[in-house]
Amino acid sequence: MAFLRASSPHTHNPNTTGRVMREVLLATIPGIAVLTWFFGLGTLSNIIIACAFGLGLEAAVLKMRGRPIAFYLKDLSALVTAVLLAIALPPASSWWLIGVGMTASIVVAKHLYGGLGYNPFNPAMVGYVVLLISYPQYMTLWLAPENLSVQGAIFDITTLFELVFGGLASTTMDGLTAATPLDVFKQTAGLTAQDIYAHKAIFSQGLFAGAGYEWVNVAFLFGGLYLLTRKVFTWHAPIAMLAALALFATVFYDAGSSSSGGSPLLHLFSGATMLGAFFIVTDPVSSATSNRGRLIYGALIGALVYIIRVWGNYPDAVAFAVLLMNFAAPFIDYYTVPRTYGHKKAQRATQTGGQ
């Protein structure tokens, strides 16, 4: 009788790409919960709309490319991109804004480059940056945390609908939004850090890095640590990024003077720091491959984030930093090929140039 002919190894660990993605989605839940707690239903609406766009676009493109739709949808990568972009966008963003962002993510950044695994740039970040450059007026409008805003407004379904599908008077809008901690810190010329913490509501209502934002970051940190324990990724890139960011913040803290760039705590726990460190920087496809490479990759992102935040024109910088380093990843790979057993030293990837 004939048996199945298969090549070794004959066993496989239960880990699959679908499982990895599922873990990532699971790990975003605490962050989403805290976001919703502080910023209202807008986060959820973002996610729902983005996921709908994500699945729809993915299916459409797969169909156009003649690929099995169900098989590829099951790897959940489209959903991960959708959720990450949704979290990064201001809560209760317009549906069309999300649609444009998702199109840039899924169609351009992912499938035009050949689909999952072939994309040199993180799709969610491409979507984010496209929106940031095209529609800066919408992208910089962050809803204020609930305790600084019109009571109950951000949990009101009607307001939410008006926000998402348009038609909200801009005056009402103004009442709902507020500058983010990073914005505040950037635009307070002449005030010392201490003054800012004492007089600006967003800081005085919070503990160390801005009301609401600090807890969002803590929640994403937890999600990240969960993924670390599940061995979804290694510690190298995120820890290197956080360490570099903290280092820069410490060096340029300047004892909290009026020219201070902000405390390390501020930088670690506001903006998209933790989301970026554990959910964006760790995106395997677009990062460096070796552990040594990931250390460099992460550290450079951390440095860039600080540089753009403090000396650049954009309030937050994770997306730019990540995209810039996506460019550099093949280059890093080229110089960080690990040393192979039995070889005296690691050698460059190839003599004929990396990729």
Binding site: F3, L4, A6, S8, T340, H343, A349
Partner: protein, 786 residues
């Protein structure tokens, strides 16, 4: 037991061990099978050569096939019976190949032939132990099946300082070595001591066992303790954390010594020998009891079996028989794997035999080993790189393998991949990475081989053409040389005769003309030598540009030598990688061929050198002879002067005594003086022509080689004519002696430096000796005649 430092290999994985199910039952003997199938090639290297014929009765332990060369292993009958066939049978092979096998139908009696035990194995010397191990057909029982005797005979300059006994057994499911260590611990220790003894008692003797085998470790430690106390040795049982693939030879070496085997090198090159525990026990039984390797412990495991356990199985037992003994339920079996789940290969048929390296038969059920899920895109998660024990980047290798970028694959050290499967195991996208690597390795090897083949074909063709041309040229040159020599001889004889005929009695003062125009009487000789001159011209043409030919020849030799080196490197790599036997064996054959060819080419080159040398000898002789008119003229002058002084004396005496002959004597003196004058002139002339001809012949006059040859031949004839036979013979003897001395010197030098051309030199010396003898005889004869 002293504690031992452990190094940790990077990477590695922890797949479910699944070792308990086969250890629950005791080790049993597999009953006699209805048929034994013994493949002639169970090892790395050349297949063994059958010593039996169909129909012949054999006894248990009887040698039925002998090792074919060093890289081979002997084969013995597992039981008594009749050889029922020697034919191609299906064997356990990843691609379901057939191979020549000796098939034995047992008679059920299990009669054994008498064995040759050795009471004091530790008194045997290295060679006899290695011979015994070789005769017992021992091969590495852990996996690749490397002939053990070869490993115990390491040809390296590094003395062996570490013997590692591999009891790691890191693959899931397999417990054959575990069982062996538990049940035969003391024999194993004896075996280890014996192997250490054979290797010259290296300083470190380590038995490495993963810590998931506590019972085996305990048994070994106890046995080691006893052995160490009783025999005052220091065998260390080292346990280390379980992690796949710690049992890989290179990985184990790193774990136990912290040293890495250089890529492409074998462990022995750094003084380390690794042997499997099974091999150690088998070695002990082979040397102590004279027992050849006819059985082994095999783990029979998997959920499609009713009984999962270890069995002592005789080599050659068909696997379906073994499976039957354990209640195999074929319908439930997902696949049948020889070896473990990580590196074993799946079989299509069960009628293949258990061989010396079969450590496990794994028959999992469908739920136990479901089919691999379909492959997804690589998400570059890097899990594979983290799992890789060799420090490779599997995802990059995969990338390049898919796009057939062979150069990049090699730059990423594809060939350092040990195919452990750790990367495939962890890949979340279920990419069968190892399969890609295997295919890519095969492709690269094939490309290299094809290139080698076409190179060789071209080389062979060119070589043949060259050889033919060269043979032709050499033949022609020889013929010409022979002819020229004959003509020269003839001419010399003629000249001699002519000179002899006209040469005056030495004391005759009246004789005037003959001596100072030596060429005059030999004009007929020159005429007869015209032919010779023509011949010499053609010979010169035939030899036209010998340097070119020589360059071509030496290029051939060089290319052959380099391909030998290449082959050797390949072999080394292949053996360290534990490649398929057939490939290595093929390589060995190829290497041999190439070496032979290189020898041939070298010999030809030498021969060519010699013919060249012969050519220049002729020239040298010609020059020597050309120098001789001088000598002749000088001699004439001398003798004339002597005669003059005598004549003067006579004349003086006559004047003093006032003899009447004084006048006449005076006339004589005057005449002699004139003669001397003439002779002096002749000498001057001779000298100037000699120097001019010398300079002309030393100039390389390629375009006019023929003219030069004619010139030379003419001069030769002249010279020959001017010499007396004695002189000529003497000169010949002298030059021969000089050449002989030189040749002998070269020969001894070659001997000292172990030059490969020693033989050629020896032959040269011999020939010269013969020639010298002949020349001396000729001289004697000549002087006797004179």
């Amino acid at each position: 037991m002293t504690s031992h430092t452990i190094w940790e290999v990077p990477g590695g994985i922890h797949p479910p061990e699944n070792k308990a199910q086969s250890m629950a039952q005791a080790l049993v003997e597999c009953p006699l099978a209805p048929e034994y199938i013994l493949p002639l090639n169970q090892h790395i290297g050349a297949p063994s050569a059958p010593l039996v014929s169909v129909g012949q009765a054999v006894k248990k332990y009887q040698l039925i096939a002998d090792a074919e060369g060093i890289f081979s292993a002997a084969l013995h009958a597992p039981t008594s019976g009749t050889v029922s066939a020697i034919e191609e049978r299906l064997i356990a092979h990843p691609s379901g190949l057939s191979a020549p096998c000796i098939v034995i139908t047992p008679d059920g009696l299990d009669h054994a032939c008498s064995l040759e035990p050795c009471e004091q194995p530790f008194e045997l010397d290295h060679a006899s132990i290695v011979t015994k191990i070789r005769n017992a057909g021992l091969i590495g029982m852990g996996g690749a099946g490397f002939p053990s005797a070869v490993k115990l005979n390491p040809h390296t300059n590094t003395p062996i300082n570490t013997l590692i006994i591999n009891g790691t057994e890191c693959e899931p499911y397999i417990t054959a070595d575990d069982m062996l260590m538990q049940t035969q611990a003391s024999e194993l220790l004896e075996g280890v001591r014996l192997l250490a003894h054979t290797l010259g008692n290296p300083a470190n003797v380590l038995i490495g066992v993963e810590d998931n085998k506590p019972d085996a470790i305990a048994a070994l430690q106890e046995a080691a303790h006893t052995a160490n106390q009783r025999h005052n040795c220091d065998i260390n049982v080292v346990s280390f954390p379980t992690k796949y693939p710690s049992g890989g030879e290179k990985q184990l070496i790193y774990i136990l010594t912290g040293q890495e085997v250089d890529s492409g090198k074998i462990p022995a090159s750094m003084g380390i020998v690794v042997q499997n525990v099974g091999t150690a026990v088998a070695a002990w039984r082979a040397v102590r009891y004279g027992e050849p390797l006819i059985e082994r412990i095999t783990t029979v495991v998997g959920e499609s079996l009713q009984v999962q356990r270890n069995m002592r199985v005789r080599i050659g037992t068909p696997m379906n028989f073994v499976l039957e003994q354990n209640g195999f339920m074929a319908s439930q079996s997902a696949r049948l794997i020889v070896g473990g789940p990580m590196m074993g290969y799946a079989l299509e048929q069960t009628c293949v035999p258990v061989i010396k390296t079969t450590n496990c038969l794994l028959a999992p059920s469908h739920s136990e080993m479901p089919e691999a899920p379909p492959q997804q895109a690589c998400i570059r998660c890097g899990h594979c790189a983290e799992a890789c024990p060799a420090g490779l980047l599997p995802q990059q290798l995969y990338w390049y393998a898919r796009s057939d970028e062979h150069e990049k694959l090699e730059a990423h050290h594809l060939f350092d991949c040990i195919e452990c499967g750790a990367c495939s195991y962890v890949c979340p996208s279920s990419i069968p990475l190892v399969q890609y690597y295997r295919a890519a390795k095969g492709d690269i090897r094939k490309t290299a081989e094809d290139k080698l083949k076409s190179d060789k074909a071209r080389e062979r063709f060119e070589h043949r053409q060259e050889r033919l041309a060269k043979e032709e040229a050499a033949k022609e040159a020889k013929r010409q040389a022979r002819k020229a020599a004959a003509e020269l001889n003839k001419a010399k004889m003629a000249a001699q005769q002519a000179v002899g005929a006209v040469s005056p009695p030495p004391a005759a003062p009246a004789n005037t003309t003959a001596n100072h125009d030596p060429s005059a009487p030999v004009i007929p000789a020159i005429a007869s030598a015209e032919e010779l001159v023509a011949n010499a011209a053609t010979a010169a043409k035939a030899q036209q540009d010998p340097t070119l030919d020589k360059a071509r020849l030496s290029r051939t030799v060089e290319s052959l030598v380099s391909s030998i080196e290449r082959l050797k490197a390949q072999m080394a790599e292949a053996t360290t990688e534990g490649l398929e036997a057939s490939r290595i064996e093929k390589m060995a054959a190829k290497l041999k061929q190439t070496e032979l060819k290189a020898q041939e080419a070298q010999a030809k080159l030498d021969a060519f050198d010699k013919t060249l040398a012969a050519g220049s000898q002729v020239d040298a002789a010609a020059q020597k002879m050309m120098a001789s008119p001088n000598a002749a003229a000088e001699k004439t002058l001398n003798s004339l002067q002597k005669r003059l002084s005598k004549a003067q004396e006579l004349h003086l005496d006559a004047v003093n005594e006032n003899k009447p002959s004084a006048d006449a004597l005076k006339q004589g003196v005057i005449k002699l003086e004139q003669k001397i004058e003439e002779a002096k002139q002749a000498l001057n002339e001779a000298q100037s022509t000699a120097s001019s001809s010398n300079s002309s012949s030393s100039e390389p006059q390629k375009p006019d080689a023929a003219a030069a040859a004619i010139e030379r031949a003419k001069q030769k004839v002249q010279a020959a004519a001017s010499m007396t036979p004695e002189q000529k013979a003497h000169a010949a003897v002298e030059s021969l002696q000089k050449r002989l001395a030189k040749a002998q010197e070269r020969y001894t030098k070659a001997q000292e430096t172990h030059d490969e051309n020693v033989e050629a030199f020896a032959i040269g010396v011999e020939k010269l000796e013969l020639k010298l003898k002949a020349a001396m005889e000729a001289q004697k004869e000549g002087s006797e005649q004179a």
